[in-house]
């Protein structure tokens, strides 16, 4: 069989250009992060990592992820169930609304939360009077992170659940299964991989969000700095090695995310060829 671009000369040229560009634009930056972090040796690297402010930033980042990931997991599953299993007016609108966080610049996301909960905001006066601090504190960071990461799980589930249809679940209903049983025994096994992938994406974004968080965090060292904000502050302080040390943790997490994604896809492909 002859196919377009199969001549050895064309093939070698295209693969060569593709690999060169990938090395320049993707691989080199990745290598640079670790090279910069380890520039002054491994001892300095550990010293930078065990800095009190960096540790506090790691703690806060974990807290944000631990809250936002489960909340958006639950929301994503319910939303996907709603729009793929039922017909109702406004279904399309709901699906469009959920795309807003993808389209909006993260700075705008931060701004709207500041307008709502900030000192001069709609709820700001009431919050102030009751001594509740949301902006420039961790609850604000959690809220904007919920905003920017809310589409990921639903976006992974909706196309899949739509394609699978609801016949299996309907069969379970006629057999008298309860809602929870249907979800756990029928739906969940079918959507397991997509759900896991959605969670991985949500987690990556929750840990790495910068624009939205930088608007509402107020950059108080050791208190409201997440890891990406800590990276920025160290970089602005001309502490390049320190900045890249924190950055290397985030890069490591990115690599784990890519590996998890590749593993999920590999398993899905293997299952497809097995059946």
């Amino acid at each position: 069989m002859i196919r377009i671009g199969d001549a050895p000369r064309v093939r070698r040229l295209l693969i060569g250009v593709a690999l060169a560009l990938t090395a320049l634009f993707l691989l080199l930056p990745l290598v640079a992060i670790f090279a910069q972090a380890l520039m002054s040796g491994i001892d300095v690297y550990w010293q930078n990592l065990s800095d009190a402010y960096t540790l506090a930033a790691i703690g806060l980042t974990l807290l944000v992820a631990v809250i936002t990931v489960p909340v958006n997991l639950v929301f994503g599953v319910f939303l996907a169930w709603l729009v793929t299993r039922f017909e109702f007016p406004g279904r399309r609108l709901l699906q469009t609304l959920i795309d807003i966080p993808f389209a909006v610049s993260p700075v705008v996301a931060g701004l709207v939360y500041l307008l709502l909960y900030g000192r001069n905001g709609w709820l700001g006066g009431w919050l102030d009077a009751n001594d509740i601090q949301i902006m420039f504190a961790w609850p604000g960071i959690v809220l904007v992170t919920l905003f920017v990461t809310c589409p990921f799980v639903a976006r992974e589930l909706i196309p899949l659940m739509q394609a699978q249809g609801s016949r299996e679940e309907e069969a379970a209903v006629t057999l008298g299964a309860s809602g929870w049983t249907i979800f756990r025994r029928v739906t969940l096994p079918n959507i397991r991989h997509a759900l896991l992938y959605g969670v991985i994406l949500t987690n990556a974004r929750a840990v790495g969000e910068f624009g939205a968080v930088s608007v509402v965090a107020g950059a108080i060292r050791g208190e409201t700095n997440t890891l990406p904000l800590q990276v920025e502050q160290l970089y602005q302080d001309y502490n390049t090695v320190g900045a890249f040390t924190s950055a290397s943790l985030l890069a490591l997490l990115a690599l784990l995310t890519l590996a998890a994604k590749a593993a999920l896809e590999w398993r899905a492909a293997r299952r497809e060829t097995a059946t």
Partner: protein, 284 residues
């Protein structure tokens, strides 16, 4: 009548959980998405039209629109070409390290934007690994619009690759064969046969990359340097106005950014919908 309609609707809902999932979804969407967005509308409603117009046509802001649009357009075009090449190579050829290259394509989505930002700024600074090589050639990337375009291009790499790749995988082999047996050259066959087939996916991916680039913040600000009238992107202008406690100004700019990206996203969805309809013989 109404009772009948209601029971009919009831009957169609065989599966449980409608009320619960509707309740949870609406509560979440209202509290997390809509309520904060209405506060923007509330803030803007305090402005008169002439005040609003004055705020959004500030010369420094107009310069930022130009830089942002120009850099995002260049970044999207770069990604159209690069994404098409990568999708082609990953689908059509076998070579060592292919799985690794495929996985690397998603790096820009997995890597936090601030990390991408400081890395690119360091690599392309005048004493960085790449900047050092470019300086003798008279090309400076840091603190210019080229740097902004570069950072935008980096963060939006996956869009074109990942929209074109599945379409190319589904392309039947006969299409190639027919073109080649009729004696067309590689270039002609690609241009006349493959490209029209990939066009909808390519435009969608490029459009998404453009929208993402317009809103990019974390990756851009470090390499851009933020010189007024020269390398300030529009997202940064919102940030600057907030630091000056100019909430009205920040909201006015945000409304422009928000409206632009929503309109573009709507246009992309409509465009995509048209093609899906055509592919399924008129049924969408």
């Amino acid at each position: 009548m109404i009772a009948q309609a209601l029971t009919r609707r009831r009957e169609r809902r065989v599966l449980p959980g409608f009320g619960l999932s509707l309740g949870i979804s609406l509560t979440f969407v209202s509290l997390i998405l809509l309520l904060p967005l209405t506060s923007l509308v509330g803030q803007l409603s305090q402005l008169s039209w002439s005040q609003y117009w004055f705020l959004i046509t500030d010369p420094r802001l107009l310069a930022s629109y130009t830089v942002t649009l120009l850099a995002a357009a260049v970044a999207a075009l770069f990604n159209a070409v690069f994404g098409l090449l990568m999708a082609w190579v990953l689908v059509r050829y076998e070579f060592p390290g292919k799985r690794l290259v495929d996985a690397l394509m998603d790096l820009p989505f997995a890597l936090p934007t601030a990390v991408a930002g400081i890395t690119l700024a360091t690599l392309y600074s005048s004493n960085g690994w790449i900047g050092r090589l470019l300086e003798p050639l008279g090309i400076s990337v840091s603190y210019t619009w080229i740097g902004i375009a570069l950072a935008m291009a980096f963060t939006s790499i996956p869009f074109v690759v990942r929209t074109v790749q599945p379409v190319l995988e589904d392309l039947p082999a006969e299409v190639d064969e027919a073109a080649m047996t009729l004696g067309a050259s590689d270039g002609l066959a690609f241009h006349r046969v493959i490209l029209p087939y990939l066009w909808p996916a390519l435009v969608t991916g490029t459009g998404l990359a453009f929208v993402r680039s317009l809103g990019e913040f974390g990756a851009v600000i470090f390499i851009a340097g933020g010189k007024p009238y020269e390398t300030e992107i529009t997202s940064l202008m919102i940030f600057v106005k907030l630091q000056e406690y100019d909430y009205a100004g920040a909201s006015a700019v945000a409304s422009i950014v928000l409206a632009t990206s929503l309109l573009l996203l709507l246009a992309i969805n409509l465009w995509q919908g048209r093609f899906i309809k055509r592919l399924h013989g008129g049924r969408g």
